[in-house]
């Protein structure tokens, strides 16, 4: 059997609040907030191993690490993030097998910017599309760049779970939303636009928004929050839902801010 959830399994997509332990299984989707005040989910990853978590827990993950490090890992990249939001949709055996298979392949195709000295984080990362090959002189792929959401989407897609409808148009965002969501990228872009400090930019391998997939407007990146709004629909009452199309860029928050609900 494949993809049909068992009625006895638990499905949870929620914020991690309080000290009551929650057992989260491997390949569950883990989200980390940009800060402690808003519910803007800035980063997504795949849980490495089954573990117990509580509020504030930092857990090992497999992920496309954000190029400028997350709020809980100041100044450096690592393979652990704070689990602020988690989605464990009770993957069945076939889905888990598919994901283990996916990971073995991806580890050979994706570079390890965290453990390998000399690589520049923006060369591995892309905002849009969610994944893209870096092509050689002969138009052949050398390695793949991913967004953090893209790596999760790709993993689940291999297991037959379409979290996001990739053929649909994502909600449009403007400069203000981009700067609020990715303040450090906005700062680098400012330096890039003024043609200042190439040495500084080269430390990150930053080559402008166009290189990250935001060349021409409208910009329609896939925000991490969209994943959790999609995964929230998975429950014991239904078979795997169809791919999700977010309606508004406010869905980058999970849950939606009160104003958006009214």
């Amino acid at each position: 059997m494949s993809g049909q959830p068992n009625q006895t399994r638990q499905f949870e997509t929620k914020r991690v609040i309080g000290n009551y332990p929650w057992t989260v299984r491997s390949f569950a989707v883990v989200g980390e907030d940009a800060d402690e005040t808003s519910h803007f989910v800035a980063h997504a990853a795949l849980n490495e191993d089954t573990c117990e978590i509580r509020e504030g827990a930092v857990i090992p993950v497999f992920h496309m690490c954000p190029p400028l490090a997350g709020p809980s890992i100041e100044g450096s990249q690592s393979n652990a993030i704070r689990a602020d939001v988690v989605s464990d949709i009770s993957l069945d055996v076939d889905e888990l097998n598919s994901m283990k298979h996916w990971r073995a392949n991806v580890e050979k195709l994706k570079r390890d910017v965290i453990n390998v000295q000399g690589l520049r984080p923006f060369r591995e990362y892309i905002l849009f599309p969610h994944k893209k090959p870096v092509l050689s002189e002969l138009n052949r792929p050398i390695y793949w760049r991913y967004s953090c959401a893209g790596l999760v989407i790709d993993c689940y897609e291999t297991a037959g779970i379409e979290i996001i409808d990739l053929s649909a148009e994502m909600p449009e965002i403007d400069e203000e939303c981009l700067a609020e969501s990715y303040p450090r990228i906005a700062r680098l872009e400012e330096i890039f636009q003024k043609k200042q400090d190439h040495e500084f930019l080269s430390k990150y391998g930053y080559r402008g928004l166009a290189d990250l997939g935001l060349a021409e407007k409208p910009w329609r990146p896939i925000f991490v929050g969209y994943l959790f709004h999609s995964l929230k629909r998975f429950s014991v009452d239904t078979t795997r839902p169809k791919a999700y199309s977010p309606k508004s860029s406010l869905e980058r928050y999970f849950p939606l801010p009160p104003a958006a609900n009214s």
Partner: protein, 350 residues
């Protein structure tokens, strides 16, 4: 040391090509390069002077010649020279330059990465890190030097990871350079997969990926040794991926790469087995070997697909069907027959 000595130029045998360094740093600075000397004292007044090393300065006899040097923490300094003093055999003092008005190098002017990379007196790791900066800030210079390093038969081993990663980032327009790159990187992969050090695993994978991105289709058999699990680093999966990459635009011509196809088929037969098909690297090898047979247009593809179908592993069949379809869809339109053939064969997996 005394400051009363008369200033005069010094000629030393240079260990590095300072002229090219200086030219790159100061394209407007003519060829008035002096030389390197052992010490530079900088600071306000000799009593506060600090030593620096790797000093280069202009040959111009006038006062105020420009210099570059590194302080004890290897920060790049620049400034104007006040006086140059030769080594005095009668005294205890080494050669030196006095510069009372030196300052750290401003980032906005000349890229220090160039200087650091070109300064052969600095440790390789420091220079290699600068090289990775150059890849993004001055790719022409980085490309020249990567090719130079790859041509060298005596490259310091510490350079290897950086050369491999830089080669992934840089593009080599000249076919002769492309040949050099894939041949040298393949040798690096062969050599370093035998090293029992975890740090080399990623280097080997990167090298193989870059080889596959440049290797001519008619030389795909060069990948054959990668399909043997003989080293500390198991290169079979990345080797199979490499075959897929080589034939990602056009499939193999008929009856080419027969030896390679035979080995791929051996792997496929072994790994498409319920006792071996453990989700992870093993299933990935099974999938990649079948995909490689498709790329090589092997007549063994059909029997292997039948073998997969007999397993009745729905999830694996589904993944394999998708991979084969993606590979065929990416082929050039001129490979229409091969595309059609793959689409027909995947019906075995339904």
């Amino acid at each position: 040391m005394t400051t009363s000595k008369k200033s005069q130029a010094v000629d030393y045998d240079n260990e590095i090509d300072l002229e090219s360094v200086f030219e790159r740093l100061m394209p407007d600075g003519s060829k008035n390069l002096q030389a390197i000397c052992d010490y530079l004292y900088f600071g306000k007044g000799m009593q506060f002077a600090k030593p620096a090393h790797s000093v280069i300065y202009e040959k111009s006899p006038q006062d105020g010649k420009r210099f570059f040097a590194f302080d004890e923490e290897n920060n790049l300094l620049h400034g104007r020279v006040d006086g140059v003093y030769p080594h005095d055999a009668q005294s205890e003092y080494p050669s030196c330059v006095i510069a009372t008005n030196s300052r750290p190098f401003p980032q906005s002017q000349v890229a220090p990465a160039r200087f650091v990379f070109l300064n052969e007196k600095l440790p390789v790791i420091q220079r290699a890190t600068a090289l990775m900066d150059l890849v993004h800030s001055d790719s022409a210079l980085a490309t020249d030097h990567i090719l130079e390093l790859l041509r060298s038969t005596t490259m310091d081993e510490k350079w290897i990871p950086y050369v491999v990663y830089a080669a992934e980032e840089l593009r080599f327009a000249n076919p002769t350079d492309q040949d050099l790159v894939w041949k040298r990187l393949l040798n690096i992969a062969f050599e370093f997969r035998n090293r029992n050090e975890a740090a080399f695993e990623r280097v080997v994978f990167s090298a193989i990926r870059r080889v596959a991105s440049l290797l001519p289709e008619d030389q795909a058999s060069e990948l054959l040794p990668l399909l043997e699990n003989t080293g500390s680093v198991d290169t079979r999966l990345v080797g199979l991926h490499a075959i897929k990459t080589v034939f990602s635009v056009f499939p193999s011509k008929d009856n080419c790469n027969r030896l390679l196809a035979n080995r791929v088929n051996e792997l496929a037969i072994k790994f498409i087995d319920r006792d071996v098909l453990i989700p992870g690297e093993n299933t990935a090898i099974a999938e990649a070997s079948v995909v490689a047979l498709a790329c090589l247009k092997s007549d063994q593809l059909k029997p292997r697909l039948e073998q997969v179908a007999r397993l009745r592993l729905g999830w694996f069949s589904k993944i394999l069907r998708r991979s084969l379809t993606q590979v065929a869809d990416q082929w050039d339109q001129s490979a229409a027959i091969a595309k059609q053939s793959i689409h027909e064969l995947t019906t075995f997996l339904e």
